[in-house]
């Protein structure tokens, strides 16, 4: 705001505060709920927003599972966190690696049907996972990849978006740089490693953040390909904690699990924020 009028300042602050509240409120509720016991949550309707003193207990129950006061046995979340972490990392790193290489091939090598291949990749942009989920499931199950990290990650690795992003970036790298590298005796792979990769560093960081969260938040696909409990990612774990039918739901544990599920993506965003923003706005080559 360039204008300095009290009303405008007040209004804009009001909007910002409202926005923060809307975003922050669910997180606050989760925090508060995790700090109460399940009886406290069950007894007061609506739920009290005064934090209780049961936070650490809820957390440890969520992480390590065990019997609850209602007599339910809860599965531990720690292994699920591990499954989620591995899948998200493999998906993010795999997507970046595959996209970098395919963009490199499309931009720097002349081979038959190059244009056609690029457009085929481009068209898959229009097909989200859900559209091709049945055939993909058939393929994965035929290959015997159900209930494995391979099944959880490989089908999600191919990425037209990332390929397209890197292609656009590579196209802005001046031809003279490629030629200078040729004169300097750098072969294609050396050029890729020594010049293209360092230049793409910020884009890679930005993409890593986006793809890590994408991988972390997968729900539908793991639901299909995993049947063994030790292969469940945490997002599925949250859902499974919400009991159906007659049994009571331990809301404090559900909320603690939700908080645990939020931590890694939040950490990735916070730690890589500087690079992330740079990667999205930087145009300096």
């Amino acid at each position: 705001m360039i204008e300095r009028r009290p009303v405008a300042t007040l209004l804009s602050h009001l909007v910002v505060v409202l926005g923060v509240l809307i975003v922050a409120f669910p997180v606050i509720v989760a925090l508060v709920a995790a700090s109460q016991t399940s009886e406290q949550i069950a007894q007061s309707v609506p739920m009290s927003l005064v934090p209780g003193d049961n936070f650490l207990a809820s957390m440890s129950q969520a992480l390590f599972g065990g019997k609850t006061i209602y007599g339910n046995t809860l599965p531990p979340v720690a292994p699920m966190l591990w499954v989620s972490l591995v899948s998200a990392l493999v998906i993010a790193v795999g997507k970046i690696a595959i996209s970098l290489l395919s963009a490199f091939a499309i931009v720097y090598f002349r081979f038959p049907f190059r244009g056609l291949i690029f457009w085929m990749i481009f068209i898959t942009l229009m097909l989200p996972v859900e559209v091709r989920i049945v055939p993909t499931y058939a393929v994965v199950s035929t290959l015997g990849m159900l209930d494995s990290y391979a099944g959880l990650t490989i089908p999600l690795i191919a990425s037209a978006t990332a390929t397209f992003l890197f292609r656009q970036f590579f196209l802005t790298v001046p031809d003279e740089l490629v030629e200078a590298a040729r004169i300097d005796g750098a072969g294609p792979l050396k050029f890729f490693k020594d010049v293209l990769l360092p230049l793409s560093a910020t884009s890679i960081a930005a993409l890593f953040v986006i793809q890590f969260i994408y991988g972390w938040n997968q729900y539908l696909w793991p639901l299909l390909v995993t049947t063994r409990e030790d292969m469940y990612p945490i997002v599925m774990g949250i859902r499974r904690l919400i009991a159906g039918g007659d049994s009571a739901t331990e809301w404090n544990v559900v909320m603690a699990t939700a908080l645990l599920a939020m931590v890694p993506p939040a950490l990735v965003v916070i730690l890589m924020q500087r690079w992330f923003v740079k990667g999205l706005v930087d145009s300096e080559k």
């Binding site: 001046p174 040729r182 300097d184 005796g185 020594d194 360092p198 230049l199």
Partner: protein
């Protein structure tokens, strides 16, 4: 050693009916240690030719030899050349030091040797204090010097320059021109320099190659090219302002141009359709009608350049430019000047082929 031989070199882009021939069989010999400038208008194929020598463009026909070795099928890095690009093409993420060392590392030169060479080049180019900087922290002129440093450390047989001065401002360009000349006389490495700027070409070249439309128009020293242009193209391209070219018909010692009949100081080399060339500085003049044998120039416009003035006017209906001393009282537009010319200063070209007759 570092000689370059071009034999019937051709370049065609595309295939079949859409094919475009960019270079039509070029022949040239460049001696070891020579500084040769290729000059020509945009699109004449000069950069393509240089890039073929560098190995960045495939050679469609003919042969290129560097140091007596045919390099048609060699990778750029195997040709023992170094190139300075128009936009410098420095690796943006590497320091000045790494930019210069990169090629040597790829060639597996020992570390100590790399260090010696880079520091030596940095010393020559006064880059010593900048070795740890990144290219974006450098000015245009400094980047240019790093690009040259990258070429020097390779200790190649041949330097190739692709319009390296065109991104510098006028003052820096003049300065860098001198530095390049000094560098060449110190290192004595064969250099091939491409430019569209004829001042660069004239000042830098030991010999220049004037190209037009994929063909060589003339190869010669700057004096030869300026003093005896081989074609009307060269006559019109080299020199600023360019040579006056008057198409007409020669008969005995008269030359009929559009709207006037000029008396020649001597007979034309032959009768018939010819083009007469005369440099703007090569005519004596006086005010008013000059009497028998002088050429009447109808003044239209006078430009002041400082040390000299350019008088634009017409001989008959043909446009004609005259360069006169800036300190003299200039003629006014509308006035007539009488020109006198020396037979030795006249250039004659065939009107059909544009080739020099005498």
């Amino acid at each position: 050693m570092g000689s370059i031989a071009l034999r019937r070199v051709e370049k065609t882009y595309g295939h079949g009916p859409k094919a475009f021939k960019a270079i039509h069989g070029v022949d040239a010999e460049i001696a070891d240690g020579e500084f040769v400038v290729i000059v020509g208008p945009s699109g004449c194929g000069k950069s393509t030719l240089l890039r073929m020598v560098a190995g960045l463009e495939q050679i469609t026909g003919g042969e290129i030899a560097i140091g007596g070795r045919v390099v048609n099928r060699l990778e750029p890095s195997e040709r023992d050349i170094a190139m300075v690009f128009q936009n410098y093409a420095l690796y943006p993420h590497m320091t000045v030091y790494d930019n210069m060392a990169y090629g040597l590392r790829n060639a597996r030169v020992p570390k100590a040797e790399i260090d010696t060479r880079v520091r030596r080049a940095a010393e020559i180019l006064e880059l010593g204090a900048l070795l740890e900087r990144k290219p974006r922290q450098l000015s245009g002129g400094q980047r240019q010097r790093v690009a040259m440093g990258r070429a020097i450390v390779r200790q190649p047989q041949v330097f190739l320059f692709d319009e390296p001065l065109s991104n510098l401002d006028a003052k820096l360009r003049a300065q860098t021109r001198i530095e390049i000349q000094k560098l060449h006389s110190d290192l004595g490495i064969t250099s091939l320099f491409v430019t569209h700027d004829q001042v660069e070409a004239m000042t830098l070249a030991q010999r220049m190659i004037v190209m037009n439309a994929g063909r060589i128009e003339q190869i010669g020293t700057p004096e030869q090219v300026y003093g005896a242009p081989a074609t009307t193209f060269v006559a019109g391209f080299i020199g600023s302002p360019p040579m006056n070219l008057l198409p007409g018909t020669a008969r005995a010692n008269r030359f009929e141009i559009e709207g006037a009949s000029l008396t020649l100081p001597g007979a034309a080399p032959r009768e018939g359709a010819l083009t007469l060339g005369l440099r703007p500085e090569h005519a004596q003049w006086q005010d008013g009608a000059g009497g028998e044998g002088s050429w009447p120039l109808q003044v239209e416009l006078v430009e002041m350049l400082g040390a000299e003035r350019l008088v634009h006017g017409r001989l008959g209906r043909a446009p004609f430019t005259l360069r006169i001393d800036g300190t003299l009282t200039p003629p006014r537009p509308g006035q007539t000047m009488a020109l006198r010319v020396d037979a030795q200063r006249l250039h004659w070209f065939d009107s059909g082929t544009g080739q020099r007759v005498a």
